[in-house]
């Protein structure tokens, strides 16, 4: 798979959807394409995150540690983004992501991502817009949930 196909995948990801293709190409070129073998961890809960992963192929399990051991809270697959929060802010990984098959990902390092945003403010604006949309949605969800709570 070549750079152009990776750019296509990036374009289908909402976080990057509005960024111009040439910048996405730079992002893809400067990222690493990695294969994690079945059972390997992409990231481990509690560790500081230094990269986001875009799943190009394969499936992963999102696991959260509980008193009874790891608990699977979600499954993710092709075109899903894992760990994007950690490239925007300094928080430890909130979950462990484990490959349930051989998984191919695009690894975008935090360092590089921030550098590109600094260089191309337009990119930052688009990311901000996407985050705001998510916040709006989360707020709306929350309001609805509270309203539903209140009505009970």
């Amino acid at each position: 798979m070549s750079l152009n196909e990776e750019v296509e995948i990036l374009r289908n990801i909402p976080l990057f959807a509005n960024i111009e293709p040439s910048k996405l190409k730079l992002l893809a070129f400067t990222s690493e394409r990695l294969t994690f073998r079945k059972g390997q961890d992409l990231c481990v809960q509690g560790e500081m995150g230094d990269a986001a992963f875009i799943i190009i192929d394969g499936a992963v399990d999102v696991l959260v540690n509980t008193d009874d051991g790891p608990l699977s809270v979600a499954k993710m697959g092709k075109n899903d983004v894992v760990g994007e929060i950690s490239i925007l802010t300094d928080v430890p990984r909130t979950a462990t992501v484990r490959a349930t098959s051989d998984v191919t990902v695009l690894r975008i390092s935090k360092d590089l991502f921030l550098r590109l945003m600094r260089e191309f403010p337009q990119m930052a604006v688009e990311i901000m817009r996407e985050l705001a949309r998510r916040l709006d949605k989360t707020t709306a969800d929350l309001t609805r949930a509270l309203a539903a709570d209140g009505s009970n």
Binding site: L3, L34, T35, L112
Partner: protein
Amino acid sequence: MESSIFKYIRRYSLRQQIWIVIVSGASFPFLYLFYELPKRIVNDAILSDPERFPVELFGLELGHFTFLFALCGVFLILVVINQGFKYYINLFKGLTGERMLRRLRFDLYSRVLRFPLPTFRNMSQGEIIPMITAEVEPLGGFIGDAYAQPAFQGGQLLVIIAFLFVANPIMAGAAVALYPLQVYVIPKLQRRVNLLGKERVRLVRKLSDRIGETVQGVQEVHVHDTSRLERADFSIRLGEIFEVRYKIYRQKFVIKFINNFIQQLGPFFFYSLGGFLVISESLDIGTLLASIAAHKDLAAPWKQLLNYYQISADSRIKYENVVSQFEPAGMHDSSLQDTEPEQITPLTGEVATFNLTLNDDQDVPVVDGVNLKFSLDQSVAVVGAGGPGRDNLMLLLARLLDPHGGRVTVGGQDTIGLPEAITGRRMSFVGSAGYVFAATIASNLYYGLKHRQIGPNPDDEAATEHKQKTAESLRSGNSTDDFFGDWVDLAGAGLANTAELDRKAFRVLDLVEFRDDVYRFGLRGTFDPGKEPERAEAIMKAREALRVRAKADPGIAALIETFDRTKYNANATMAENLLFGNAIGDVFKMDRLAENDYVRSVLKKAGLTDTILQVGFQVAATMIELFADLPPDHEIFQQFSFISADELSEFQAILSRADKDHPETLSSDDRSKLLSLPFLIIPARHRLGLITDDLQAQILKAREIFAADLPDDLRAAVEFYEPDRYISAANIQDNILFGKISHGEAHAADNVGQLISEVIRDLSLSDEIVRVGLDYHVGVGGARLTPAQRQKLVLARSLIKQPDLLLISEGLNTLDAAAQSRIMENLLEEYDGRALVWSLQRPELAEAFDRVIVMEGGKVKEQGTFAELKGAGNLLAGLVAERVA
């Protein structure tokens, strides 16, 4: 050392000097004949009356022409004889001078080795180096002339003067009348030049000292932005030197002026006074002309003598100037280093000091009346609050400093008189700033065993060659030891053979926790498989083992892309794929492969030139698309771009000139630039999609052509990959790997590293790899090691010689606390029953030692066992409590 250069010359080359004078004297008659003969040829042969012939010469009857040719023949013979004398005399002078120079340098260097350590506080290498190298250099030239020149020229002068006096005393007197004036005036002027010369030498020495300091402290210059300050300082120094040199020039030319003036006064008097006398008829014109000619004849040797006087004055100063610096107070006697006792027995008994005192430069006692005693089978900790006392006490015990009062005895003997053969073999000292020499780890490790030459160079030819050179070394009083011989003193370290030394070295590396570091150097190290075929074979086994594991486990196989002649390696650059081997030397240097003529011809033969040019065009276009918007100094450039920021605009221009479909129409320079780009592509990493399957197949074909057509003269420049052959130019790790680590595999590098160490462990190869690591070159002053590694190496060097008394003064202070404690435990165990004295920063560690000495303000305040001293009210208890709190 001899106080004057003439004494030095007489002491070491009197016979040679006499010989030079004799030979010079012997050459005189021939020289005289040589000057005399032309007159005879003209007067007796050419202008002579033909009636006189035939004449008789040595019983032979000679005609006019024969006589002429006979005289000319004699002339020719005299030419040869005179030049022969000249050649011989000059050569002999040169030889004598060079031998003396060699001796002088050797003496000075030997003296440096005997300087008491405090000397080096006030004398830097920047001062010492030019003295031994540049400053004494001109002395060699002078030494050959020291006696011969005055004898020769003076003799000539006297002969001429004598002749003149015989011919006409008055005129001879007139010709030399002004010499006394010159003899009086010139030395007066010369003395001022000499003083300036001294000053110049001093200033240049300071200058080189300053340069040395700049080089050592250059980091601080950058840190504090003080380059202007440094330049200002340097400029002032240069200015001072300039002024002194300029003054010297002025003085020198004043001397020359006066000299020439007085010289010309002669003719002035001849013409004026002599002329007056001739006109007034009290002198005949013939005598006047003869005097003028005589004065002229005298000029040459007289000038030479004056010249000699100047040079000898200069050399005398240089010599005195240098030698006075090499006689510091308290210099050790040479017998301390030269004595080689018949037998060196291990030290036993006690170490004791009596009223031991040491003052610092300001005469303040830093070690003050110390009396202590411990047995040579005990471990001793020296603790105390900061201050110079502890460190200086350790240096005194190690006999590295000489006390100002009191004494140290080891096994009942005063250490002051002990030869270094004992203090340097049975004792050892490790300070915090131990020095690592610019050599391999092994030669640093074994440094402490090389006290004297044990055996000849194992290479017979080299050993014989050395022997032939020793006679010459002796003539200069130099060392006759063979530096390349066998120096490692196994017996002194209690070892029977090199196998034991090997084991000992490994043990020592373990004790100081240095083995892992050396192992890692070994993995990245290379060796010559021709010299170590067994080692190469063992590593080939590791390669095979790795291959077997990869075959059995697809997870491992995915981590490594093995070199395969028939496959394109997607994790290697195109250059590597084409060459398919390791470049030896610069011919096929990877980063310039596209420029190589042979590579070009291979591409052409494979019909690849245009394709690669096309790919190059696309790479350039992509790079411009990706990076053109970034500022040129952006880090991303350095990290990712194939094209440096500076070249980006150049490539932009090339592309604008090019026809996209026919880049081959570009100029050869442009094509050359574009051609080089695809060579850098690693498909698995860069994912540009440009190295298509088709192109890969073509490059594989080119790879075959490259190998098949390789001309004989280039065969040595590349070592092709073959699965069962050791690659001598590659390091061990790459040899085991025999492939590339996959770029696209998560944690591949870590996992491969793990795998390789497993394979090595399974084959018990790690010792062999450590051995390769021992050949790692540590760089100047050990710069290629971390400070902690340097300290470990210095400690290991002391351990390997198995001293009876080991003194460690904060020798591990760059290591972390845990590592320090671990190594200390190792050493205490190793030194059970021998004397280990450790000056500790952390008093709580003293508990593990048999005895504790507590110092304060240069005095020993407490000594005893830790248990005795730990009670409340004791200093030690206080120190420990302070730390714990």
